[in-house]
């Protein structure tokens, strides 16, 4: 068999980020016009994706025709608000603060989540902080089982494997966060006659790293076709502040800091991008193993994980099914 072609990180480089930004701004304006809407609303998280979409929208519509909604809650990182405002100020868009903690509290988000944590950590209670983690897919063939890692008020760490019931209940409870944010985004879009802008990048969109009818909902998803590495290139071209561009991606969903690799992806984003690039093109694990400094069998595990997540994502992407009754 012929040697597999070798592909490196350069394959992910945008040829001309400035031209990409200009083309996307034009396409975004045309998309909104097609919906007869005159601007865009988005939730700002202080992360790279929402900062880039905000900057694109400012170019597309003019800054005054964009609204950045800041929606922190009690578990949000201390940096969330400051970085969100930094992103908004850099592109000149107005912002609106909506603290969603009272809504989440009223919906029972925290109570339901904590009840679920207690099913595997009975001592969990007030003053504790927790997150859900997954073991590495690269290091072992073992099935990846979700665990909860928690810090008690004295700073001692506790860890327990989640049962399927507890896991589903934790996720169902925390999904209130993304769905509440989307509800508010649509509220402001409706009153302003704007579109709602989604902020997933290609990795998140492809792999189902979003909540159905939560952050997965939007009228336009301007960067969902771009690998996350390319979003970073676009960020530079669009003048997104350095501090946002140099911050590691987080989920900002649990009270304990949680990297995206701990919860979802097998590898840091740039390496996941390269794996996804290879899978998208039908390239074998050998083609990217050198660039990733991994063995082909390790890369094959990541490819397997990508395929597994695509199977799960099919449900998340599915529009409601219409049953025409012809099978009856």
């Amino acid at each position: 068999m012929a040697d597999a072609p070798r592909v490196g990180f350069e394959a992910l480089r945008l040829a001309d980020p400035e031209a990409t930004a200009a083309a996307l701004a034009d396409a975004l304006r045309a998309a909104a016009r097609g919906f007869r809407r005159r601007g865009g609303v988005l939730g700002l998280s202080g992360g790279i994706d929402s900062s880039v979409v905000a900057a694109l929208a400012a170019r597309a519509f003019g800054p005054e025709q964009v609204l950045g909604v800041l929606m922190p809650e009690t578990d949000s990182s201390d940096d969330t608000l400051r970085l969100s405002r930094l992103a908004a100020d850099a592109c000149g868009i107005p912002t609106l603060l909506e603290d969603i903690t009272p809504i989440l509290d009223a919906a029972g988000c925290y109570r339901r989540r904590d009840d679920a944590f207690r099913k595997v950590l009975p001592a969990y209670g007030p003053g504790w902080k927790a997150k859900i983690v997954l073991p590495s897919v690269v290091d072992s063939d073992a099935f990846r089982l979700f665990s909860v890692v928690a810090l008690d008020p004295d700073g001692r760490e506790h860890r327990a494997r989640l049962t399927s019931e507890a896991y589903l209940e934790v996720v169902a409870a925390t999904n209130f966060k993304q769905r509440t944010r989307k509800m508010l985004e649509y509220h402001h879009a409706d009153r302003l006659n704007f579109v709602v802008l989604g902020t997933p990048n290609r990795l998140e969109y492809d792999q189902g790293f979003f909540v159905k009818n939560g952050d997965g909902a939007a009228d336009v998803k301007p960067i969902a076709h771009l690998y996350k590495s390319q979003v970073y290139q676009l960020a530079e071209a669009l003048g997104v502040p350095d501090e946002i561009r140099s911050r590691p991606p987080t989920t900002d969903t649990y009270a304990m800091p949680q990297s995206q690799e701990e919860f979802y992806f097998s590898l840091p984003y740039d390496r996941m991008d390269l794996c996804l690039y290879a899978v998208d093109r039908g390239l074998p694990p050998e083609s990217v193993a050198d660039a990733l400094e991994l063995g082909p069998e390790q890369v094959a595990r990541v490819f397997g994980d990508i395929a597994a997540k695509r199977r799960v994502a099919a449900y998340l992407h599915a529009a409601p099914m219409l049953l025409d009754g012809s099978a009856a």
């Binding site: 073991p135 072992s140 073992a142 990846r144 089982l145 989640l162 896991y167 597994a308 799960v312």
Partner: protein, 95 residues
């Protein structure tokens, strides 16, 4: 403790343990009545996903009274009906 369904043969050659495992898979992972080969990979067939593995482990622990530690959650122990049956038999035999 007596294992509820260990290694008792039946007329069709399937042990009660295997019947229980197959019943659980059919009931929870919807196979549309397909007969699953004993050595077929449950992950490659799309039967088991990460959530399914959690459910399978919970079933094995509750139904057969065995503990499935993290280090045992490997494809060679859990990724086919035959492997699951062999794994549970081993755990039951070694207490």
């Amino acid at each position: 403790m007596s294992a509820p369904s260990e290694r008792r043969g039946s007329l069709d050659g399937m042990t009660d343990l295997e019947r229980d495992v197959r019943g659980f898979i059919a009931e929870n992972f919807i196979l549309d009545g397909d007969v699953l080969a004993g050595d077929a990979s449950l992950t490659q067939q799309g039967v088991l996903d990460s959530m399914g593995v959690l459910e399978l482990i919970m079933f094995l622990e509750q139904r057969f009274g065995v503990k499935v530690p993290d280090e045992d959650t490997l494809p060679e122990n859990l990724d086919s009906v035959e492997r699951i049956v062999r794994y549970v038999q081993g755990r039951l035999a070694h207490g």
